[in-house]
Every structure is written in C-alpha cells, then in structure tokens.
C-alpha cells in the first residue's frame, strides 16, 4: 500500500513538473511565433478573398500530436465525477490548435504563400489507453494558401 501510494504520488509529481514545464515552454514559443507569422493571415472564409488571376492556390496543412501527462489525466478524471470545465484539457487543446495553425502557416511560408483561407480543424484522440482513457490528442489544421504567381504584380 505504501509502495502504491509512493508510486502514485511520484507519477503525479513528475506529471505535474514536466507537464507544467513543457506547457510553459510551449506557450512561450507559440506566442513568439504567432507574432513572427502574423504577416500571413489565416482566415475561415470559404471563398478566396481575391479572384485567382494572379494567384495559385495550394493546400497547406499543419498537424500536431500532444500527449497528456499523468497529472492532467488524473485531474480530468476527478472532473468526470463532479462535472465542470476540464481545465487541464483546455490548455492542451488550446496549445494543439495554435501549434497546428503555426505549422500550417510555416508550410504556407515555405511555399511563398501570402494568405490562407478556408481553414479547418480536425481533432482526434489518437490512442486510447486502458479503459478508453485519452492518451494523446492530434489537431490538424488545413486550408488553402494563395501564392502570388511568378512575375505577377
């Protein structure tokens, strides 16, 4: 019983420590890169904001897989008993969505894109742990990037 308790508390502490460190680091990187890539707007309109004489349109996408940690999972399962906002998953998905957009923008940038429209998200939990617990989450962002044709000005 002691051993179980010690293992449990250690896992919880490790989960919290590493998870929190990774999350803070990730948020710092997300905020910095969002500023950097702000010159490529990503918008959700269905139709191209310009008619395509001067632009090519290309599919761009970014996807990310983030695993939850022991602490987050435990905090979330406590929530399942009581109900309410699962805040430990909220930050996870927030990070995943923003990271996916950033990667999509990086994809667009590498192709010389100016703007991405009709962006969409797909979210899925990619592995189910024991008893269908969420292991990690994948967020895919994709859209259509407009790339200025060579010589068109």
């Amino acid at each position: 019983m002691y051993l179980e308790l010690i293992i449990f508390l250690t896992l919880l502490a490790f989960g919290y420590g590493f998870g929190r460190y990774a999350e803070k680091k990730h948020y710092r990187s997300i905020i910095a890169r969002e500023k950097e890539l702000n010159n490529i707007p990503a918008i959700a309109t269905k139709h191209a904001p310009v008619s395509g004489q001067q632009h090519d349109s290309n599919l761009v996408m970014g996807s990310v897989v983030i695993s939850i940690d022991y602490f987050k999972r435990f905090a979330a399962s406590l929530r399942t008993l009581i109900g309410g906002r699962v805040t430990s998953y909220e930050t996870l998905l927030d990070r995943a969505r923003r990271e996916a957009i950033l990667r999509m923008k990086e994809d667009a940038l590498s192709q010389g894109g100016d703007i991405i429209f009709n962006i969409k998200f797909e979210t899925s939990s990619i592995f189910k742990g024991k008893k269908n617990t969420v292991g990690s989450v994948e967020v895919l962002a994709y859209g259509t990037a407009l790339i200025l044709k060579q010589g068109a000005h």
């Binding site: 019983m1 969002e34 904001p49």
Partner: protein, 315 residues
C-alpha cells in the same frame, strides 16, 4: 466578399489580418494546483461521507439480525471442526480455554443466547480471531508466546468483546454494503487510475471504523480483566508479544486495520497507572502443563495465507 483582382497584395493583408488574441480566453487563468487540490478534497470527502452513511446503514440493518442467525451461518465451520481428530493435549487445551471463556462471558455480561465456542488450531501463526456465531479461534503460535494467564485473558476478553459488540457480523455487513458500493462507483469512474484512487480512499475510510472496533474491544477487555483479577497487570504483555512479532512491519495507523500496538500498550499502562493498586497485585501464571499441552503433534506447515475473511476479526 471577393476582392477585385487588381488589388495589390498589401491591400489584401490590410483587410485580412489576424489580431493578437489576448491569452486566457480559451484556457483558465487559475493555477492548476489550486483546482486540483479542491477536486481531490471534494472527491475524498464525498467518498468518506458515502462510506460513513453506508457503514451506519449496514450497522443499522445488522442490528436486526438475531445472534441465532449468526450461529446458523457459522454452523458449517463448527461441523468441520468436529471432524478433526482431537488428541489428548488438544482436548486439555480446549477445556482450559473454554473454562476461561466461561469466566470472561460472565465478566462481560453476555446475553443468554450469546454462547462462545473456543477453537484451538495447531498452527504456528501468532494470532487469534473472532468470527460469526461466537466462534473464537486461537493459534498455537500465539499461545506459545503468551507469558502469563493475564495476557491470555486479555486476548480472549478482546475477542469475546468483539462478539459481544457483534463486530464480526457488522464487519461482514460493512464489507458487503460499502465494498459493493465502492466497486460500483470505482468501476464506473471509467479510468484505471481513478478506479484505484476511489477504492483505496474508500478502504482507508473503512479502516478507520475497524480501528474504532478494536479500541472498543480493548476497552471492554480491560474491564473484564479488572472484574476477574482485580487489576489489568499483564494485559500489555499480549501487545509486547505482538509488537515483537510485527517488528518493523507495522504500517502507519492510518493504513492499518488496528490501532498501533505501541498506542495500545501505552493506553493500558496509562490506565494501570491510574489504578493505584497495580503495584501490589500479582500476575497469575499459566498452568504448569500449559507448554506441554501446546506441543505440536503433527508438523503441519502453516497454510501461509494472510487473507482473512471480512467476518474474521483478529486481535
């Protein structure tokens, strides 16, 4: 809203920009540990309250079960006991223990129908337990280690007090009701970690009630010693034996079915200090032949299993 194609790329960007979104809209600004601690405290106290209510309910229901039902329930035990071939020594020890039980039964004012049946088991475990239907079991291992009759009377009075307070059937009822509820709740939690967490929390709560039972029985047992010997000297010898036996392996009280042996000893010593007569009184020795009666006639290995039935209550 398609823009005319002659618009320059700068203009497009002007129209469509991604403003910097302030942090904390999609996430909570609260520190995760604060929320976590609140959740843990909330869930733990709900489990404790649930168990408390179930224990009270179970004790209430058990109160309506007559002792004669218990006897019937335990009948299969006693019938198998009879089939064991008794040797002379076993008969002697059984008679001695049964006589002592009779004295304690009187001292504890047991109701008429509450009869105590002592069983001697020729096994090396240092243990004794009370179970349904007034059956009390003594292992050779324990009897061999007891230094005097007072210590033996203490064990027996403790076990008989369990029977008097109907702890075995209460314990069975709690095990069934609270145990069932715990397993239902934990298995519907949907998560392996959570399942463990809930059942451990529940078990720790039940243990608290177990320790209360032990304290009550200790108290009643000391009362019987006073009425039989006029003092409680020697009662702590029992716990010294147990302490020696469980050296280094006793868990913290919080994780244990019993109060810490150390606390039980100091409890007895406090009580004997209060009664001034204790210095002049003497300890009653065990019968001269006691050790000879205990000599094992078969070298049967201990069954080794520590698993106990919820209705079996140890010292």
């Amino acid at each position: 809203m398609a823009l005319p194609s002659f618009l320059s790329k700068e203009l497009i960007k002007l129209e469509y920009s991604n403003p910097e979104i302030p942090e904390g809209i999609n996430t909570s600004k609260e520190h995760p540990l604060k929320e976590f601690l609140l959740l843990v405290a909330g869930v733990l106290s709900s489990i404790a309250i649930l168990i408390l209510l179930l224990v009270l309910l179970s004790d209430f229901i058990v109160g309506y079960i007559p002792f004669s039902w218990e006897k019937k329930l335990s009948a299969p035990f006693t019938s198998t006991e009879k089939s064991i071939k008794h040797t002379d020594n076993t008969t002697l020890i059984n008679n001695y223990l049964q006589k002592m039980a009779a004295r304690i039964t009187v001292a504890q004012n047991l109701p008429e129908d509450m009869t105590i049946k002592i069983h001697y088991l020729d096994r090396p475990s240092v243990n004794a337990f009370a179970t349904l239907g007034g059956n009390v079991f003594f292992f050779r291992g324990l009897l061999e280690k007891l230094p005097n009759e007072n210590a033996l009377a203490m064990v027996m009075a403790h076990e008989i007090a369990h029977i008097k307070f109907r702890h075995p059937i209460q314990s069975l009822g709690r095990g069934v009701l609270a145990g069932l509820a715990l397993s239902i709740v934990s298995s519907s939690a949907g998560d392996a970690i959570m399942e463990n967490f809930i059942s451990e929390a529940g078990i720790l709560t039940i243990l608290k009630f177990n320790r209360d039972m032990e304290r009550d029985s200790d108290k009643a047992a000391l009362g019987s010693l006073v009425s039989i010997y006029g003092h409680i000297k020697g009662a702590d010898d029992l716990f010294l034996v147990l302490q020696q036996e469980n050296k280094n392996s006793e868990p913290y009280e919080f994780f244990s079915t019993h109060p810490l042996t150390e606390n039980r000893i100091s409890n007895i010593r406090n009580q004997s200090r209060q009664s001034a007569a204790s210095e002049t009184t003497s300890i009653t020795p065990l019968p001269n032949d006691f050790k000879r009666w205990l000599q094992s006639e078969k070298s049967e290995p201990d069954s080794g299993s520590d698993e106990t039935d919820p209705a079996e209550i140890n010292i």
